[in-house]
Subunit: 256 residues, 4 copies
């Protein structure tokens, strides 16, 4: 029996093919960079999947063997099949962990699970980002101090169109004057969700130690305790019920 944590890193994998700068930072794609640093954990087993594979690399076999799914998408959110999104959602609700990165704030799967717009302010520029640790006791932030900095990143600013997070982990300061809730968690069904802001494709963000540490911690935090398929059972009484006062003239037409 395989007791390792099964991690699938999903990447749109388009910028890397069309933009030489991105290709120079992530020659084999961001998914490979992420899988490589996660693969250093002895108890993680890594797989990758990308948009242009059949079923986006997320067929039933892959999904049912994924404990934690990591998601990066941006320019092609609209090309992700609604049927696959529905299958991923089903897996999260039955227990699979989900880590959504950066521009994945607009991924269909993230919006479907949160139920909100997930909109924000943004600017591609020369901002420095400083991420403040607002919950130092959280498993995802172990090894991270009071704050860390990313020398250059795309700016994301408030208001961020999310439901109030279950746990507020990181808040970013940007040179240009904005703030952003950069790390936050939610539970949906039996699955745990972590959103982590950094990771613009034109910067080497996923090569940075603190970013790698947080994603690595998040995988362990998000692993499922259960796999409980959805059901809505007709359920017999556990205690005696009164007689039905209208038992004789009750309509016989069922309607559930």
């Amino acid at each position: 029996m395989n007791t390792k944590i099964q991690v699938t890193v999903w990447n749109e994998f388009r910028h890397e093919k069309s933009n030489p700068k991105v290709a120079s930072i992530y020659p084999e794609g961001m998914h490979t960079t992420i899988a490589n640093f996660l693969g250093k954990e002895a108890d993680y087993e890594l797989r990758t999947a990308t948009l242009d594979e059949p079923e986006h690399g997320l067929d039933g076999e892959v999904l049912s063997h994924t404990d934690v799914l990591i998601w990066w998408g941006h320019m092609a959110h609209g090309e992700v099949s609604d049927a696959i999104v529905e299958k991923v959602k089903t897996r999260v609700l039955e227990g699979m962990g989900l880590i959504v990165l950066h521009s994945g704030h607009y991924a269909k799967i993230f919006k479907a699970l949160l139920g909100t717009s997930c909109s924000l302010k943004w600017r591609e520029s020369t901002d420095k980002e400083r991420l403040w640790n607002t919950m130092p006791s959280h498993p995802i932030l172990q090894g991270i101090g009071d704050y860390f900095e990313i020398p250059q990143e795309e700016m994301y600013g408030e208001p961020f169109g999310i439901p109030q997070p279950d746990e507020q982990l990181l808040i970013s300061w940007f040179t240009g004057g904005e703030v952003f809730r950069s790390g936050a968690t939610w539970t949906r069904g039996h699955g745990k969700i972590f959103y982590f802001r950094p990771g613009h494709e034109t910067y080497p963000t996923y090569h940075q130690a603190e970013v790698q540490k947080i994603i690595t911690n998040a995988v362990r935090w998000a692993r499922p305790n259960v796999c409980i398929p959805d059901n809505c059972p007709n359920s017999p009484a556990l205690e005696p019920l009164p007689e039905d006062p209208e038992a004789d003239n009750r309509p016989t037409i069922g309607h559930k």
Copy 2:
């Protein structure tokens, strides 16, 4: 200018046409009963809408003039058009209040906003339901004491597949041995959502004073403060930014 709270009561309106018992309780449909008791409030202006009307009675004109939408559906959730659901969701996110009743737990609009299964246990039987007030200071529960009882209701039982509520208002006790979170609120975007459990079609639940009081209170609580359409703006810096160290060899391909 109309400063009344514009309320639209939406009802599937099918059980009333096919089931004589339901028709005897709600001769003009549940929506009419609900609109009638709400209409006694001097500051409420009532409209109704039903599944079989064009656009389910929820065209753009109606939706844009609705402050609070009440939703009852059951046997025909699947017949509600996805396009209408999307429009209703957009209105909630920009500020419209939404009150979801009873079997509306499985309405497309409720599941789309909460992001979860919204499944539960259920039993049509002779249970008495006693609803306990867990937040007596809440505006929705003013005029309700420690608890109230509904002589006979369908049972809904935990676990209820919802995200942790923002506010936990009511918990039900059922004769047959179950419990249920019968009143709860969430914020999604700029809109407020209230789920209220009672209202099985074969019982005269919406004729009961406490039930009417709670729905009446909920309308006032759910009225919007704002109407803010979704946007995701490119946003100029408010503070001076550093020079771009790579300004000369930056790729020119835009990607947002």
Copy 3:
């Protein structure tokens, strides 16, 4: 019967007496400045109270007639009597609203209600503060746009030692590189609590329009719906109970 909202503004009122700069900004004390702008609301009735009055100006008569209490303290938190803190806490739990300003983060009453350290980073300096609106639909933020700025303020930085807020309203950006959850709400018992960060005594913060607007809104938001004194009742069964199998040999010693 008085149907106005009864507001009591409490101020430590010490800096104004010892520091000429503070005295020049608030010649009659911060409480008077705050009471004056709140007093412009036709439905607010204002009272002030200060540390050096008997019972700190908060005797039973005053407290029982206060709907919303505003609290500013800093250099003399330790001089506030524990007995008065206990009385204020009792009033909040039974329904009174509480608005805690700036250095009141370390007031005994705030720490007693939140249960945490309420610690933070701080710096008296030349920072500009920009407060971002993270919940534009909230009643407290009506009339406030995406953000507003305070030209010079003391810096407060994360981590802020508070329980996860019920509602996250404002996040501050500071020139020096920090962020802070500057507006947040909690419910404790039947009372509503709003913490609002700005208001260092050496700056004219409470003369600024946006700051006045937020405090004015907060009073209306925090007004009580109920006044429910604490009780812990022995409560008879509402449904038939089984016979006690050990009725005959049950010990007679009471223990509650």
Copy 4:
């Protein structure tokens, strides 16, 4: 180095000495029963402490070596020293886990951390309690099915005077017609808190397998990730600040 989870079980230990029925169920005290079943876990190291020991058995040495503290108290809450309560609170805020059982809802330490009344309805009677699992994915509920029953227990009923829980784990149904939030969690500072309702002293509740399972799981869930003492640092700027426009005529009186 000791890498086991250090657990201290604290018990008031009075009922066992004065009430023969309680003594017959827990001859060596509830703390011993609880320590014995927890001691079966290979990675737990157990200690007990009781009210009548010096410093209630909770001197600095014990507290600083406790990862998770379990608390049962009832008839003598008032005899617990405020100084010890303050030390326990400090330890929770810096990271120690706390599990509060049954009548501990009224313990000074629980009320000090939650900030509310913690009041409830109650009845010593012949009720059966059925605890419904509202969050089956939670680590504390692993091995517990949809529900479990305790044949006879004291009734606790809503409203329960607690802040909205971070996680809602269990809701109880009682024969007599009440419901109660029987399992819930909060974070305070860096520490995790779990309240678990069952455990009236005249019933053999802590001998029941499901109850033992939940407390055993809760210890592992509550163990600290960090130990962070409180501080409130004066913090230098990380970014350049503007000149102070009033540098020359700034008052020199410090006030923090």
